[in-house]
Subunit: 195 residues, 2 copies
């Protein structure tokens, strides 16, 4: 980039707008007019700045993941396994219902199933969800080494359970559940935690 006409829009803001649309309508449910309207730019500008629809989605997904990572990292750095899942679940209950964002979880609802064209997006999301679960599992393994969990506790199972509850809350949120409703789920889910 040497000189030339400067870009008339804010790329960060435009990407945020695109993220919101994908979040609300999913990958397949979002059309290019949906995107250009929300981003306030026209089609060739979108393609010049972000590539095609798929690469725009991936950039939006990266942004989504980065923001999620902030509170996930914070939760995972709690001193005990119990505190980790408490923080994690409470954070998710808040984040999925944060009023300035669409309900639900992008990584769950953007392409849980899809037509053949979007199959690579679906697989990407499957991998991201698996990666999230792995991070929790690794934290539980550490907890077990530290004597922070009973010797018969299985980090894989614990992580899968927590992931399942989190994904269930995503569906609940996408169905209109409120923050307080999700909090009751969190409290109950924590009753299963080993002591």
């Amino acid at each position: 980039m040497v000189a030339g006409r400067p870009r008339a829009f804010d790329m960060e803001q435009a990407l945020d707008r695109a993220l919101q649309v994908f979040w609300r309508k999913g990958y397949e449910g979002t059309s290019l007019p949906d995107l250009t309207d929300a981003m306030g730019i026209n089609r060739p500008s979108l393609y010049a700045a972000f590539g095609n629809k798929e690469s725009l989605f991936r950039k939006a997904l990266d942004r989504y993941s980065e923001r999620n990572a902030i509170f996930v990292d914070e939760a995972l750095s709690a001193p005990t396994a119990r505190e980790v899942v408490e923080k994690l679940l409470h954070s998710v209950a808040y984040a999925r219902c944060c009023p300035e964002n669409p309900p639900g979880c992008l990584a769950v609802q953007a392409a849980l199933v899809c037509g053949d064209d979007a199959e690579s997006i679906r697989k990407e999301l499957v991998m991201r969800r698996a990666a999230s679960e792995s991070r929790i599992r690794e934290r539980m393994e550490r907890a077990k080494e530290e004597g922070d969990l009973p010797t018969n506790a299985d980090p894989t199972v614990l992580a899968r359970y927590v992931s399942t509850v989190i994904q269930g809350m995503a569906v609940q949120s996408a169905s209109g559940a409120s923050h307080t409703e999700l909090e009751t789920v969190v409290e109950m889910a924590l009753l299963a935690w080993p002591t």
Copy 2:
């Protein structure tokens, strides 16, 4: 219907095939060629027999719901609240991974989010999921009246927790989880149950 040329295909079988496609690809992700190919009929036959895409989906959804209702009814008729949720969760763990069906739950993944055109389908699915949760809640209310649950137990919260776990398992299944993996989730989820 007085006379006329007889239908050359089996409507029940064709509807089953359509259900499979919607289940695997979601409402928006399924195209009419997807449907006609799977059903082995051509477009005008499909429209004559089932209306349009939306009404075909609703018929397929009804069929899906009926089949689900069989084991849900059986679970809800168990004598105690504890047995109800045990049966329910184990049944779901099996049903979501039954090898002759697509993974996941149609009512969750067919249109968790979507474009404007499919909005009425999405709302229908939200209502069905809410109805399922209500059935569980009513069963828990009955259990409480029967002294089958602690006096401080909240049927609404119990039902929401069970629904959330079930929906989480649907996401896990759609992501490739096996039956035995879901069973470990069930066992752990049951640890939260009040005694």
